[in-house]
Amino acid sequence: MKATIRGVRIRGICAAVPKETHKFENEIKDFPFPEKSSIRLGRVMGFREHRIADAATTPCDLASYILNYLFRQGWAQKDRLKGLLVVAQMADHPVPGNSKVIHGQLGLSQETYCADMYENCTGFISGLYMAAAQVAAGCMDEIALVVTDGGACHANKLDRNTYPLCGDAAGVALICKSDSLEDAMHFVFRNDGSRREALLVPAGGCRMPATAETAKPERDEMGNFRSLNDMHMDGTAVFQFVMESVPPLVKEACAYAGIENKQVQYHLTHQPNRFMLEKLADLMEVPREILFNNVVENFGNSSSATIPVNIAFNLGKRLLTEKPLVCLSAFGAGLSLAAAILHLGNMDFCELIEHPGNGCILPD
C-alpha cells in the first residue's frame, strides 16, 4: 500500500526512557553460556546497556510522563489537545485501552478523541500515517501520536538471543496542519503474515491463553531458556527478511516520493541491533553515518518507540533549526515493513528525557 499525505507536519518529538540502566556486563552471568562468548556476541550486536522500566512503571506511565512534560514546557496545551492516538503492543490493562488510561492520568478534556492501535516494530510509521490522515482530513488541527513499548516483559532473562537487546521507551510526536508545500509524507507499507511465526509470543492471547503450564521455561537446543509466554524469534528468518525486503522498500518509497535514493539525508530506521543495521546500511550503499545504529547499545530495542528515540537521541538539537529530507523505515513482527519519506525538522522541540521510575507521571 502506498499513500501520500500533504499539508501535515511533525511539530515536535519527545521520547522518554526509564532512568534505570541495566548493564550487559552484569547480566552475562545469568546467561547459560561462557562469559567470553557472550562478551564477543555483545560487541558485535551492540549489547552494552539497556533501559528497563521498574515494575511500578507501565507503558502508559512513560507516555503520560512525556505529555505532562510537554504541557509543563508550554509545548502543548492540555485543553487544546484534540486527539490522542496511542500505538503499542503492550497494554496497562486488557480493558480499557491505553489511550483512556493516559487520558485519565492526565485529566484531559472530555472532548479529546482517544484511540488505540495495536502495532509492533512498524508502529511509529503506521501511527504517523493514521494521525496525519486525520489531520489532513480536517478532523482536528493537531493530534498527539504516542508510541509506548518495550520488549522486556516478552523476553526471558535467560534468553541471550532476546533479553539483552530489549528495552522500554515511549515517544510522542505532535502532528499538525501545515501550509508549506514542502510538507508531504509519502508512505509505503508491506506485510507478509505467512511468516508471522518468525517473531511470535505463542501464549497469552485467545489462541493459547497464558497458564501456569505456558509459563514454564524450557531449554532450547542452544541453551537458551524461554517459555510459551516469551518471545520466540527465528533470527535467521528475520535477518533474511530484512535484508531481502528493506532495500527494495526504501527504493520504492524514494521513487514514489519522486526523489533519488542519494537525496535522503538520514535513514532513521527501527533499531533491532547494531550488526543488522550495519549490514543493512552496506547493502543499501548508504554511509553508516547517516543510518544510525546506536540505540540498542544505549537504550535497547523498544519496538515502535525506537524511531522517536533514534530521532531525539541522534538529531535532537539539529532538528530544531534544520529540516533534512529523511527516510523512516521499520520492520518486524508480522512480518511487516513500513517506510516514509518526509522533510523532518524546524520543530518546536525534539528531546530525549528520562523517566524517574516508580510509575511517576509528573516531572520534578
Binding site: P34, S37, R40, L41, R43, N161, Q240
Partner: protein, 83 residues
C-alpha cells in the same frame, strides 16, 4: 584457511566437534547468533566484508562452504573495499 576457520569455530562453540559434523547448522552447532559472531570473526581475521545476502545457513554448514564464502567476499584493504 580451513585450519584457521576450525580454530574460530572451536572458540565460538568449544563443546562441539566440528570436524565430524556434516552440517553445522542442521546439527545445531551454530544458531543465528553464533553465525553473527562467526561473520564478525571471519571479517576481522581475513579482512573481508561479507554481504548481508550471503548470510544464509547454507554458507555456514561446513568449513568448505565457509572457506568459499570468505574467498568470494569483498576484500578490505586499508579501509578501501576492492572487488
Amino acid at each position: 584457511m580451513e585450519e584457521e576457520i576450525f580454530i574460530i569455530l572451536k572458540d565460538i562453540q568449544p563443546e562441539f566437534d566440528f570436524e565430524t559434523s556434516t552440517d553445522f547448522v542442521e546439527d545445531g552447532y551454530l544458531d543465528s547468533f553464533d553465525v553473527v559472531t562467526l561473520v564478525s570473526e571471519l571479517e576481522s581475521k581475513f579482512s573481508v566484508s561479507i554481504s548481508a545476502l550471503e548470510i544464509i545457513p547454507e554458507n555456514f554448514s561446513s568449513v568448505k562452504n565457509i572457506c568459499d564464502l570468505v574467498k568470494r567476499s569483498t576484500k578490505i584493504s586499508s579501509g578501501v573495499e576492492k572487488e
